[in-house]
């Protein structure tokens, strides 16, 4: 079957790098919250909306100024219109739909049905056009057309456009959406009460000479004002039966208000953690790199505190509510996610996992650490992993699970006790080099071809070169003519001297 011109065109578009890149760019700008430049676009649009709304508000009581009119009715509206068309463009892939229909027809050996393809394209576009945000966008650009400019109502839609660009409003809408059924039930109930009470109050009050409810609209207005417990008092029943109806409506109003409040509060309570997690994820995406701490046990708490002192970022994963709260109250980014579940790493996403410097399995249980290590191992991620060990017999299990370094604190404590027992003063001195309070510290710097061991030894500063680290091997007190430059040197010197040497290298 020879390909029709439109299919050929669709294929060309799909394979055109420039077309795909342009479409991806606009899609990112309009819809991708993790796209770094989206915030600038959003900010620009928010400014335009506020300018537009300000002009419209000014126009309400003042005579329109031609410059402002031009800015609002032509320029800003044109930008909004272009934005609407772009959203319509990126909401679905027309060329893909055309090619798909063609391929299906080809497979079933029938003529290409252009009409079906166009219908599918129209459906996909209409699906977007029917969404509340798209409707608001469309209504916001209607003042572009002269006859509709008089309708000040459109000012509302310009304000509503702000929904597009504020994350909080999205969250609010998504929270309320979880209680759709409850809200629908409530609104049906309220609608029924308003309708019934409006009709009854109208029949009771309309003929009363001193009454203020003369029309069905008055009755409807009174009903809404009363059931919402606002009660302006400008329209009120005067007859005894009318007042009885009022009493019933007032009582119903209190109940409706309590019900509505409870729905919103429960929706927020249920979704609060999700919102917090989303925020944390967004915050994490902005980081250059970070350590992933799986399980916020006692060692994790201490390690995290020390890493924060070094200005490092960490993300804690834990499903234990108490530990999670501890992590949050300690000021760390923490997610209510299970480190042993593959779904957790799907949520984090590949882009985020690439920023992970090391994964630390620091739960207070070997079972949890082994499980989490195996989960990470199954993902084939090449990231350094470190785990604590609670019971010596489980060391091999952690190593089998793929952990690169296993730390058994009892062994460490025993080593320290042993060393302290033989040379107590010497170990105290060595320990003090790692203290954050000490001015003399032990540090390391990466040597380069331009800055070698000789440069350190011959520097004006007082530095003790302890050794160099080459491929997991430590060479103590390297000789004067040691000239390997791609190594890390371990030094003892004043904190400021080490900082200065590091700066010299940079």
């Amino acid at each position: 079957m020879r390909e029709p011109l439109c299919v050929e065109l669709a294929r060309r578009l799909s394979s055109s790098k420039r077309y795909v890149n342009t479409k991806t760019l606009f899609n990112n700008l309009l819809n991708n919250n993790s796209y770094p430049y989206k915030r600038y676009f959003d900010f620009f649009m928010i400014v335009l909306i506020l300018v537009s709304v300000s002009i419209l508000i000014y126009d309400v009581t003042s005579s329109p100024e031609p410059t402002l009119e031009f800015l609002n009715n032509i320029l800003i509206t044109a930008v909004f219109a272009i934005e609407y068309l772009l959203r319509l463009w990126v909401c679905s892939d027309t060329s893909k739909i055309v090619v798909r229909v063609f391929e299906e027809d080809k497979l079933l050996k029938r003529e290409f049905r252009l009409r079906v393809a166009l219908k599918d394209v129209a459906i996909s576009k209409l699906r977007y056009m029917r969404t509340p945000t798209a409707i608001i966008d469309l209504l916001a650009i209607l003042p572009f057309f002269h006859p509709l400019r008089a309708l000040r109502l459109f000012i509302v839609f310009r304000i509503l456009k702000l929904f597009h660009y504020t994350q909080n409003m999205h969250h609010f809408a998504s929270i309320l959406a979880t209680k759709k059924f409850e809200l629908y039930t409530l609104m049906t109930f309220v609608g029924l009460i308003v309708f019934v009470s409006s009709v009854i109050i109208y029949t009771m009050e309309a003929r009363s000479p001193s009454g203020s409810i003369k029309t069905l609209f008055d009755a409807f207005y009174w009903s809404i004002v009363t059931i919402s417990t606002v009660g302006y008092g400008d329209v009120a029943p005067v007859s005894a039966p009318g007042r009885v109806v009022a009493m019933v409506v007032i009582m119903t109003g209190v109940a409706v208000l309590a019900f509505a409040t409870s729905i919103v509060v429960s929706a927020f309570t249920e979704k609060l953690d999700d919102i917090r997690d989303t925020r944390v994820l967004q915050k994490t995406k902005k980081l250059k790199n970070f350590y992933l701490v799986c399980g916020y046990g006692v060692v994790a708490k201490e390690s995290a505190a020390q890493l924060v002192l070094l200005d490092r970022d960490i993300l804690v994963l834990d499903q234990d509510r108490e530990r999670l709260e501890h992590a949050r109250s300690d000021g760390h980014m923490a997610l209510d996610l299970n480190p042993s579940s593959v779904a957790t790493y799907d949520i984090l996403g590949d882009a985020l996992m690439q920023k992970v410097k090391s994964i630390l399995f620091l739960a207070d249980s070997d079972i949890e650490n082994v499980y989490a290590a195996l989960t990470v191992g199954s993902l084939n991620i090449d990231i350094e992993t470190i785990s604590t060990l609670q019971e010596k017999k489980n060391r091999k299990k952690l190593l089998i699970a793929g952990v690169d370094r296993v730390i058994y604190s009892q062994e460490l404590v025993a080593q320290l006790s042993h060393k302290h027992s033989t040379n107590p003063q010497a170990y105290k001195a060595l320990n003090s080099l790692r203290s954050t309070d000490s001015s003399i510290i032990i540090g390391e710097i990466s040597l380069s071809e331009d800055f070698g061991l000789d440069d350190i030894r011959n520097s004006v500063h007082s530095v003790l070169v302890v050794g160099v680290c080459v491929d997991e091997e430590f060479i103590f007190n390297p000789s004067q003519n040691y000239n390997n430059t791609n190594v890390k040197a371990v030094l003892i010197a004043h904190r400021l001297v080490i900082d200065d040497l590091q700066r010299s290298l940079v």
């Binding site: 350590y291 006692v298 060692v299 201490e302 390690s303 020390q306 890493l307 490092r312 410097k357 090391s358 630390l360 470190i386 604590t388 010596k392 370094r405 730390i407 058994y408 604190s409 009892q410 460490l412 404590v413 025993a414 080593q415 320290l416 006790s417 042993h418 060393k419 302290h420 027992s421 033989t422 040379n423 107590p424 003063q425 010497a426 170990y427 105290k428 001195a429 060595l430 003090s432 080099l433 790692r434 003399i440 032990i442 390391e444 007082s462 530095v463 003790l464 302890v466 160099v468 680290c469 997991e472 091997e473 430590f474 103590f476 007190n477 890390k488 371990v490 003892i492 010197a493 004043h494």
Partner: protein
């Protein structure tokens, strides 16, 4: 000081590791529960039953210079009480006490422990050094590893008297790095990199980093 006799209080995962590390010393273990005593005996450890309320007067016969006490009770309050009791009984003996947190390690020092090892703090330190300072971490691992040649040692040899602690090039060329010195007159410690010059006197201690062989050669020579 190279302690020859070690008395370990408590029999648990910590003390088992300590026994393993210090197998070359003469060790006595005091167990504070019947289960612990049974466990120790079944593993061939020379253990005695004790209680934190005991007066431990039998320890008075030990040579304080050649003995070290290690308190490893898992109940931190009991470990504190034991440490303070032992210090009261033996004012000059070396006591090493284990704590979980840095806060409890401070309390143990106040109770009289010569050295208080904070388990969580030290583990966290090790993790952070592994992550942020891998070369330093490797060096410290070598130092802590009992099978490794590299060590940090204290020298009080008379041959050092009169030498400048900050300019010991001869020592350095023979593989001994002078790290710090402790003045005998006031017991204060100074790192060699923070002073320009200090002439070592009798009783001063020079703290050095060296391989076992280099140290042996120096001491023998």
């Amino acid at each position: 000081m190279n302690s020859k006799r070690v008395v370990v209080f408590g029999y648990n995962t910590h003390s088992k590791e300590i026994l393993e590390q210090m197998s070359s010393h003469e060790i006595t273990v005091y167990c504070f529960s019947d289960d612990g005593l049974e466990d120790a005996n079944s593993e061939g450890v020379d253990a005695k039953r004790a209680s934190v309320d005991d007066d431990f007067r039998s320890l008075l016969s030990l040579d304080a210079e050649q003995t070290m006490l290690i308190c490893t009770l898992q109940d931190e309050a009991q470990n504190l009480f034991l440490t303070i009791s032992l210090r009261d009984l033996l004012p000059s003996i070396q006591i090493i006490a284990l704590a979980t947190t840095a806060e409890n390690a401070t309390k143990l020092r106040l109770a009289g422990a010569s050295i208080a090892v904070a388990q969580i703090r030290n583990t966290a330190n090790l993790i952070v050094y592994l992550l942020e300072y891998p070369a330093v971490s490797l060096f410290l691992e070598n130092i802590l590893d009992t099978t490794h040649e590299l060590q940090v040692a204290e020298l009080q040899e008379s041959s050092l008297v009169g030498l400048d602690a900050c300019k010991l090039d001869g020592l350095q060329s023979s593989g001994i790095l002078p790290l710090a010195y402790i003045r005998a007159e006031d017991g204060k410690k100074f790192f060699t990199v923070e002073s320009d010059s200090y002439i070592l006197e009798h009783g001063d201690t020079l703290i050095v980093l060296a391989k076992y062989g280099s140290l042996k050669d120096f001491r023998d020579g």
